[in-house]
């Protein structure tokens, strides 16, 4: 149970850290975050089916593409409502979510599509257990991306600029940081991370226009548990969610039907008991 819970937390962390960036640096709750994951999944699928490129090898292409798409969406829409009431921002991102989902349905139909990657069903022994190779690889890569992001945020000029903007936009602007450019880069980066997560989803599951919502909801649960804007807490919160779900699925009778409601319960508990999040920023 622990192994399964930990393995699934990797993808959760990768999906959520982008959303945490949007919320923490830009201050925008991006309801379309899951749809960027969905676009990444489709890119991974079509690159595999059309050109035989393994989704893992296509990650750099996916990241670049989703970065560009995210940047374009930011410029065309989100930038215009940054100083508008938060409700306007949420409605806009919700509208973008609906638009992207329906665009995917029009372009590719609602039919789930599977990339028949040769190692999709391969398992590897891990001590007394046997675990899926895609799950193991996805966990490893996801953790690498998240830790890489932490390094960027902690050690690079760009990362420090992002943190400065997150702390105080006006102050950052006064010391010469181009706030709008940081916002653009942050949003692009958040979408790129979601897109990479989507390409990893292609390895394990079917792709369809509807896969984004589930990951958006889990990402929200994780960033609430971590504390809104607390990027550091995302890994721990992802572990909590992954292990909670696995515990319910393994030990609660009929737990398979209950486990997807775990994140709702966690959001409720955290908001009532510790609204600033479970983990320190």
């Amino acid at each position: 149970m622990v192994i399964f819970g930990v393995l699934r937390s990797g993808l959760y962390a990768l999906t959520s850290v982008g959303l945490a960036l949007s919320v923490g640096v830009i201050g925008v709750v991006n309801f379309a975050h899951g749809e960027f994951l969905m676009l990444g999944a489709y890119l991974g699928y079509w690159l595999f089916v059309s050109y035989g490129i393994d989704p893992l090898l296509a990650i750099p292409i996916g990241a670049a593409a989703l970065f560009a798409i995210g940047g374009a969406v930011f410029r065309a829409g989100i930038q215009r409502v940054l100083r508008a009431p938060e409700l306007n921002q949420m409605l806009l991102t919700f509208g973008i979510s609906i638009f992207l989902q329906n665009l995917a349905i029009i372009l590719w139909t609602g039919d789930p599509r599977t990339a028949a990657v040769s190692y999709k069903a391969t398992a590897v022994p891990l001590g007394p257990l046997v675990v899926g190779l895609p799950q193991l690889v996805v966990f490893g890569l996801a953790m690498a991306f998240v830790l890489g992001l932490y390094l960027v945020l902690g050690r690079s000029r760009l990362g420090k600029a992002m943190r400065a903007v997150a702390q105080n936009r006006v102050g950052a602007s006064l010391i010469g940081i181009e706030v709008d450019r940081i916002y653009l880069l942050t949003f692009g980066l958040a979408c790129a991370l979601a897109g990479v997560a989507g390409m990893m989803v292609t390895l394990q599951l079917s792709t369809s226009p509807f896969i984004g919502l589930l990951y958006t909801l889990k990402a929200f649960a994780i960033i609430v548990m971590a504390g809104l804007g607390n990027i550091n807490g995302v890994i721990y919160a992802s572990l909590v969610l992954g292990l909670s779900e696995a515990f319910v699925e393994f030990y609660v009778p009929q737990g398979g039907g209950w486990s997807e409601g775990v994140f709702f319960l966690l959001i409720l508990v955290v908001l009532l008991v510790r609204p600033k999040g479970l983990f320190r920023s």
């Binding site: 089916v49 609602g110 039919d111 675990v131 190779l133 394990q204 599951l205 393994f250 398979g256």
Partner: protein, 400 residues
């Protein structure tokens, strides 16, 4: 004689001539007014692919029907997209019946949409030749409706066919996993009783949420139950994680049997999907001559494989309705109801279609599903043996 050449006479002759002309051309006018049939199908939404397959089936049927027409009239099909959404389905019904004034209503796929449509239909009875819905909630909603004709087997028919097939393999025990919505829960509710009827024991029964990315806990528990056959009732999006993660946890029952409404694109190429069995009304490997002809036409016309049974089912739906109108001699509801009741048709589904009473309903068409197994990327029919195109691989060589 002199009288007809007066002004009155000439006018009278002219009026008579006009009346004669109008009467003579009446059949031609009537010929130009088409018979309108309305169809409610999900062209978009989660069942969009199946709905689009239905639309293609209707197109093929319409070509055949309009070669000769019906009662010297062309048939027009007005298609409304219910988007898999019950309120949209209800609105589609109202539009077709009150604005388009269709003579007959066909279509239907999802049970929840069918329930919404049924509520409207009770207030405005029209001949409903309904392809879809497996939930017997729909059957109960229209239990006393003479004008409701249902083509797809009800869920208890599906359960009966499924457990009959399982029994035929020699299996004794079953592990059942089902999605916790109406589709899965409805099937699970029937399962125990039907299993008992066929001398089978359900050793494991658990729900899951459709769309769950990780089914390994569920599959690990099912593996521990040690049943001969694993029955998985879910949607197309659940099939890939189920088969791949079953391999990953080395869950190798003697047979995996799944029955999604349709299969994901590319599933046939997935090695983990080999030898998984399924239940369906029809597959493209069906050996019936009408079925082969349909499949061939479908490929030629649409440049794609007919992977779902909704295409031939829709063809059957429209074709039999047109035939009933022809036999009734009109679109009068009573006459049409009588003609539909006497339908005897064997077409691309490859099974004979007649309408008989079911548990709650008055006019039920198909009552059996066939079983197939994925072999070499094809859905080879393995049950019933009379129409089988191959022998079932049981125990299936999963993980070998």
């Amino acid at each position: 004689m002199k009288g007809i050449f007066t002004i009155r006479g000439v006018v009278g002759l002219a009026i008579a001539a006009m009346l004669l002309l109008i009467t003579a051309y009446q059949p031609a006018l009537a010929q130009r007014e088409p018979i309108k049939i309305g169809a409610i199908v999900p062209l978009t939404g989660p069942s969009g692919t199946s709905g689009q397959a239905m639309q293609k089936g209707y197109q093929l049927a319409l070509q055949d029907i309009n070669r000769t027409g019906v009662l010297n009239r062309k048939v027009d099909l007005v298609v409304e997209d219910d988007r898999g959404d019950p309120p949209t389905g209800a609105a589609s019904f109202l539009k077709l019946v009150t604005r388009d004034r269709v003579d007959v209503l066909i279509g239907g796929l999802q049970s929840n949409v069918s329930i919404a449509v049924a509520a409207q239909a009770r207030q405005r009875p029209i001949l409903m030749a309904w392809t879809g819905a497996a939930s017997s909630l729909v059957e109960r909603a229209l239990a006393d409706a003479d004008w409701f004709f249902h083509y797809h087997p009800w869920e208890y028919h599906n359960a009966d066919s499924t457990f009959g097939f399982i029994r035929s393999t020699g299996a004794k025990t079953v592990a059942l996993a089902y999605e916790d919505g109406p589709f899965g829960s409805g099937s699970a509710d029937q399962a125990e009783a039907f299993a008992r009827n066929y001398g089978l024991t359900i050793t494991f029964k658990e729900a899951f949420k459709t769309g769950s990315p990780d089914l390994t806990p569920l599959l690990s528990k099912a593996k521990a139950a040690g049943a001969d056959v694993f029955v998985f009732v879910g949607f197309d999006q659940d099939m890939v994680p189920m088969v791949t993660q079953a391999r990953q946890v080395a869950f190798n029952p003697k047979l995996i049997l799944a029955a999604p409404p349709s299969w994901p694109v590319g599933f046939e190429k997935l090695p983990a999907g080999h030898y998984v069995a399924g239940m369906a009304l029809w597959t493209a490997e069906n050996s019936h001559p009408a079925s082969r002809r349909f499949a061939q036409r479908y490929r030629e016309q649409f440049n794609e494989e007919p992977v779902s049974y909704w295409g031939p089912l829709a063809y059957t739906n429209l074709f039999t309705v047109a035939d009933a109108i022809r036999r009734a001699g009109s679109t009068d509801l009573n006459a049409l109801t009588g003609a539909m009741r006497s339908t005897e048709y064997e077409g691309p589904i490859g099974l004979p279609l007649t309408f008989k009473r079911s548990i709650y309903g008055k006019n039920q068409g198909f009552t059996k599903l066939i079983a197939f197994q994925w072999v070499g990327g094809k859905q080879v029919v393995v049950y019933p043996t009379e129409i089988a195109g191959g022998k079932i691989a049981y125990p299936a060589p999963y993980g070998r």
